[in-house]
């Protein structure tokens, strides 16, 4: 790296993140709880859509015996992910069940009753990573059904294929884990550092990049120390950036900004800057898939909050019901006010405890009254706290005013679509205005409007096609009718002629006579 004055002024080599907040981390509840494998649950419920994109297509039916690692649903379309059976057992239902989603709506789900033997089916074929091509590795991520495990659940293979389209140079591994309470990535880095680094190197090979940077927040010194013990893998030397502890450091585009100083254009991919960001847990899953042929079957989940008797970090099978996970942690204390899936900032409240934990579930939180605040929204006092807190440089109070007045287009004009829904504005608002909730509503409403518009155009097209078809049928009928009429007339004429000829023949008048 060349010498630069700027570097002298900024010894950490990090760039500033505008806005952001410093919530109480409360990670101490589980930071020292080593990852513990949870025993087999009594039921496994696998929603067919645990990722962003199209729902997978089920390959099993009720009564089928499945083996551990067997694919039970196939990805459909280019953005989708396979689903595998996380243990052996019998499929007892292929139907609908409440989704791990704020709506709690029923979604297509495969339910498996484990047989307790945990028998492996055939694993994915071995690949020799050292001489595997980029495509082979990315395809392996698809075969293993790996999705982004940071929370969004974007299919990893799609991101690993970005090397085909963009000129990439850097892979950033997101170990920021900026959400309060969550420690699953922290524990993974501490306990499986070598595997995480190896997974990152495998991903780097798939992307064809030269640099791997781990971004880890400064509140995880053990994780930083653990990763720095294994800095070399597959010929890559990774570098570690110690990030200030600040929320939302773990947002992909903000991580890119603070590490490289380059800002991702609005609604574009960081790949346009040559950078791809993957989560720590995704790197670990990649390691398991590439080295051992294991599909994405389990993940580490932080079970925390004062409402849980013994907060823990558990390695749970995908599809394990939340109630069994909580029971394994000693159950609820009975003082819990709110149950959340994910982190406290971007997670969502759940309605039923029977819903399953899925590939993108990073935490299960039971928060008590003392950890929450319940408050009546007051009028906006225009203090600007939300503007200062917004990491995307927006004006939340103004957007909220427009949304409350049903002027959604007005909110879009001032950047609603650049909102990452991190919740910093709501957290900071002294008047307790549910700002981010309003933005989520507005985005959903706008998406619905757009789809209605699209539907209207499509139905118009359908109606026009139907009219055209009916007209064509009517025209064809008319034509056929006319043809038949002409034929009939012709027939009649011929018959008449024949009759005339018959009548003429016995009359013995030779034809020549007429002439």
């Amino acid at each position: 790296m060349s010498f630069s004055l700027a570097h002298l002024m900024n010894p950490t080599g990090l760039f500033a993140l505008n806005g952001g907040i410093h919530p109480q981390g409360r990670k101490f509840l589980t930071a020292d709880a080593a990852i513990e494998a949870m025993p087999l649950p009594s039921l496994i419920r696998l929603p067919l859509r645990q990722h962003i994109g199209a729902q997978a297509e089920p390959l099993v039916k009720r009564g089928d015996e499945v083996l551990k690692g067997q694919m039970i649903a196939r990805a459909r379309g280019s953005v989708s992910a396979h689903v595998h059976a996380p243990t052996s057992g019998r499929v007892i239902a292929v139907g609908y069940f409440a989704a791990p989603h704020p709506s709690g709506l029923p979604v297509p789900t495969v339910t498996i009753r484990p047989d307790g033997k945990d028998r492996w089916g055939p694993r994915l074929p071995r690949i020799h990573i050292e001489d595997a091509s980029a495509d082979e590795i990315a395809t392996r991520a698809a075969e293993a059904g790996i999705v982004g495990m940071g929370g969004a659940g974007f299919p990893a293979a799609v991101k690993l294929h970005l090397g085909r389209k963009y000129d990439l140079d850097t892979l950033i591994i997101n170990g920021a884990e900026c959400e309060p309470y969550l420690t699953c990535d922290d524990r993974l880095m501490r306990e499986h550092a070598e595997e995480v680094v190896d997974g990152a190197a495998i991903m780097a090979k798939a992307l064809g990049v030269q640099r791997i940077i781990f971004g880890i927040e400064s509140n995880k010194p053990e994780a930083i120390a653990a990763i720095s013990r294994f800095r070399h893998a597959l010929g890559y030397t990774i570098s570690i950036k110690v990030l200030p502890t600040q929320y939302p450091m773990g947002s992909g585009n903000h991580l890119v900004k603070i590490i490289t100083g380059r800002e991702t254009p609005a609604r574009a991919l960081s790949a346009e800057l040559g950078i791809v960001v993957h989560n720590t847990a995704t790197a670990h899953a990649m390691h398991l898939a590439a080295r051992y042929g294991e599909p994405s079957l389990s993940r580490v989940v932080t079970v925390s909050g004062r409402g849980v008797k013994t907060p823990r970090n558990l390695r749970v099978l995908v599809g394990t019901p939340v109630t069994e996970i909580i029971d394994h942690c000693g159950g609820l204390t009975g003082t819990e006010e709110q149950l959340l899936l994910g982190g406290p900032m971007m997670g969502f409240p759940i309605r039923s405890l029977r819903i399953p934990a899925i590939k993108s579930t990073s935490g299960i939180l039971a928060l008590t009254k003392a950890e929450l605040r319940k408050s009546q929204a007051m009028p906006c006092i225009r203090c600007g706290s939300c503007v200062q807190a917004c990491p995307s440089g927006l004006t939340p109070f103004e957007m909220n005013a427009r949304i409350q007045a049903d002027n959604l287009e007005g909110a879009v004009e001032i950047g609603l679509m650049d909102c990452i829904a991190c919740g910093c504005c709501t957290f900071m608002c002294p008047s307790n205005i549910p700002l981010v909730q309003g933005f989520s509503y507005a985005k959903g409403r706008l998406a619905e409007k757009q789809s209605q518009e699209h539907q209207r155009e499509e139905t118009k097209r359908l109606a026009a096609a139907r009219t055209a078809r009916e007209e064509a049928i009517a025209a064809a009928k008319r034509e056929a009718m006319a043809k038949r009429k002409a034929q009939m007339a012709e027939k009649k004429r011929r018959e008449a002629e024949a009759k005339a000829a018959e009548g003429a023949a016995p009359g013995a008048a030779p034809e020549g006579a007429v002439k």
């Binding site: 919530p23 109480q24 859509r49 989704a99 989603h101 704020p102 709506s103 709506l105 979604v107 309060p180 006010e337 709110q338 406290p344 900032m345 409240p349 928060l367 003392a370 950890e371 929450l372 605040r373 319940k374 408050s375 009546q376 929204a377 949304i403 409350q404 919740g423 709501t426 957290f427 307790n432 205005i433 549910p434 909730q437 309003g438 989520s440 509503y441 985005k443 959903g444 409403r445 998406a447 619905e448 409007k449 789809s451 209605q452 539907q455 209207r456 499509e458 139905t459 118009k460 359908l462 109606a463 026009a464 096609a465 139907r466 009219t467 002629e497 002439k515």
Partner: protein, 195 residues
């Protein structure tokens, strides 16, 4: 020879008749041409174009004419909803007066047809009537509705002999679900700032 002449006469007279009538029609079309105001075309463009008849006019064209002539309110089209009403108000120049009229006009929740399969006899009457081909089925087979293509126009409900079809709210799925608008007069639960 005689037959040949008859045929020729027939053919000629038919041709002459056709040409004459065609010419007359052509002349009449020009002579009696009615200038449609361009606003009608413009309005028709905005209309859903499915000719569903919920506005009680025979098709979108007729409705467009009625709106242009001031014989129908801009809020006549249920599938178009509030958005269409606003657009129509703009086109027809109803302008600000419409704001007050639209104040109470909320979009009705989108409706779609639903077929009770137990009652369906497979008579094919409904799918022949569906303006958007949203019903699939065959004779003596149970029919079903393609929800995405259904505009909730009620045409199928009208013709079903066994009353097997109803209109109901569009089912919510993860694809079209979204958070409700936060009500500022209620208390909200958020992460505490300090404990």
């Amino acid at each position: 020879m005689f037959e040949g002449v008859t045929m020729l006469t027939a053919a000629l007279s038919m041709t002459a008749l056709g040409a004459g009538l065609g010419a007359m029609l052509g002349i009449a079309a020009r002579r009696f041409h009615v200038e449609t105001p361009p606003i009608v075309d413009e309005i028709e463009q905005l209309m859903p174009g499915t000719n569903c008849g919920q506005c009680s006019f025979p098709g979108c064209r007729a409705a467009a004419e009625a709106v242009a002539g001031g014989n129908a309110p801009v809020t006549l089209c249920p599938p178009g909803g509030r958005d269409l009403a606003l657009q129509l108000a703009e086109v027809t120049g109803a302008g600000d007066a419409i704001e007050s009229e639209l104040a109470g006009f909320e979009d009705a929740a989108p409706q779609v047809a639903f077929i009770f399969e137990d009652h369906c006899t497979g008579c094919t009457k409904c799918f022949k009537r569906c303006p958007t081909d949203a019903i699939v089925g065959a004779a003596k087979q149970v029919h079903t509705v393609v929800t995405d293509a259904c505009i909730g126009c009620d045409a199928c409900v009208q013709v079903c002999p066994t009353e097997a079809i109803i209109l109901r709210g569009k089912p919510r799925t993860l694809a079209n679900w979204y958070w409700g608008k936060p009500d500022l007069s209620h208390t909200a639960t958020m992460l505490g700032r300090a404990t």
